[in-house]
Amino acid sequence: MNILLSRLVQAATVAVLVGAATFAMMRNLPGDAAWRIAAGRYGYDNVNAAAAEAVRSELGLGGHWFPAFLQWMGNLFRLDFGVSLVSGQPVIHEIAHQLGASLWLALAAVGLSLLIGPPLGIIAGLRPGGLFDRALLVVSTALKAVPQFLMALILILLLSVQLGWLPAAGYGQPRHFILPALALALGLAAVNARITRDAMASVAAQPFYAFAQWKGLSRTQVLWRHGLRNVSVPLLTYLGLQFVLLVEGVVVIESIVGWPGIGHALVHAVFARDVPMVQGTALLLGLGFVLVNALIDLLAARIDPRGVQ
């Protein structure tokens, strides 16, 4: 119960921080917010004084900051995120639209990374110090050093431009998933593989593991019964921590390949100074992190009840 309470406090603090930061952003926009928003709405051919005036009168920009701040936070805690300054649609509606695309991409990336990383980690962990283990160390170190946007660039150049195997952008068909998911997954897999390898190596060195083999179970059976269960806890905990990394990757990758998710929306909202959208997306990402980690706390406690503090 204590875990949940601390997660709840974390969630509330996230909300306050996001609210205060986006409020500051709204008040401190360099230049005039009405102009920025008008540019976002009407485009560079048609933004002019009349358009900016229309925005200003519609939004009522201006006034003292303190009552505005109280109202801002009040709206936030009533879960009223307002309407997007650019599209005029309710923020919650816009986010609901875009969340699906991002979730699928994130799930595909995590899934792909779990297909690549842990199997390699287990093979390496069963023979620590072996040739495969050392090769994996070199490869995973190199992969960790490649930021996701660079990975996306390399994959686009290699798989789309040079080989023509995969579309570089687009959305809606399964084949559109491969490139962005792979760009995210390779970095995650590099770390997954190391975590799995360490966990596997320490499990395999435990007396009970040798005992299980000695009592006549096959290698596969031992791995299945004793190995994977013990490997899965650190892996799971780590996945929770990776969520932030994943979200960051999603933000950048979506912008590169034109994926209609919240990351793309966020970069655009920042660019067009659409503060309610920034607030909504930031809040969703922050609370998503808290939720995922709360679930992982509970799940980890189920798999391995010893580990609960």
């Binding site: 996230v14 401190n28 160390l137 050093a145 660079l150 660039l153 190391r194 966020l266 990402l285 980690n293």
Partner: protein, 268 residues
């Protein structure tokens, strides 16, 4: 046997990492001294032309020397990153010590704040701060400092709590040694190696963030030579001049690889 089981910071890796970084720093600082040139000077006649004596890495789409642009870019991002890490490390160290020493509400509030910041994607924070702050370089510095201090804070607090409770420190206190003595002899030797690892990771994170935001056109602005920006500028010319695009790609990879190796092992 234990070392073979768990991947620990590998001294060999650290040496290689430091060597890579030394080569990059040498290039960034000395390159333009050896081959003088201007990273901004254009010559449209030399658009995408190959290497020559004044431009050993060839020219970009506006005929600017890639050698000098790269050298400038390799000063800019690391400089911002180091400034942010230095700020974050000092803030994290001070606040972490404060939390460990004072305990109570001070500690609780700081921990809650750090936990909340941990839940927010760093790039998002940097984007918001960039939107508030005037000037891109100061915006990056402020945003990255805000993101990075949490790691240093957590490290310092955890280490300091453990060390302060140790018999050695209790004895020193009884003997009447001052806090600065206890810090220097007991705390700092414990914290320093962790700080080095965290600083290397932090620098890598900061450089990645600057390049990633440059690449999606919300970071540094043209014509500033910046690694991500150079990549996105040269991307359309990939078919005509692949080496021009690969130059910043390879440099970024080498820089981040060097930092990752220097940090050694896993993120603490």
């Amino acid at each position: 046997m234990r070392t073979a089981i768990l991947s620990r910071p590998q001294p060999m890796g650290r040496i290689i990492g430091a060597a890579i970084l030394a080569v990059i720093a040498g290039f960034a600082l000395l390159g333009p001294v050896l081959v003088p040139g201007d990273p901004f000077a254009q010559s449209l006649m030399k658009s995408l032309a190959g290497p020559d004596a004044a431009a050993p890495f060839g020219h970009d789409h506006l005929g600017r020397s890639l050698f000098h642009r790269l050298a400038y870019a390799l000063r800019l991002s690391p400089l911002i990153a180091l400034a942010a890490v230095a700020t974050a490390a000092s803030a994290g160290l001070v606040l972490g010590m404060l939390a460990a020493l004072r305990g109570g509400w001070t500690e609780r509030v700081l921990v809650i704040l750090a936990d909340a910041l941990l839940a927010l994607p760093g790039l998002l924070m940097v984007l918001i701060v960039l939107a508030i702050m005037p000037g891109t370089a100061t915006g990056f510095w402020a945003g990255l400092s805000l993101v990075l201090w949490v790691e240093f804070f957590r490290l310092t607090r955890a280490t300091a709590r453990a060390t302060l409770a140790s018999p050695a420190v209790q004895a020193a206190k009884l003997l009447g040694f001052g806090w600065s003595y206890i810090f220097r002899t007991h705390l700092w030797p414990e914290i320093a190696p962790l700080m080095l690892t965290a600083a290397a990771f932090g620098t890598a994170t900061a450089i990645m963030a600057i390049a990633a935001l440059g690449f999606v056109s919300v970071g540094m602005r043209a014509p500033t030579p910046e690694l991500g920006l150079m990549m996105v500028e040269l991307l359309p010319y990939w078919r005509e001049a692949p080496m021009a695009l690969l130059t910043p790609v390879i440099a970024t990879f080498a820089l981040l690889l060097g930092l990752t190796l220097l940090a050694g092992g896993h993120k603490p």
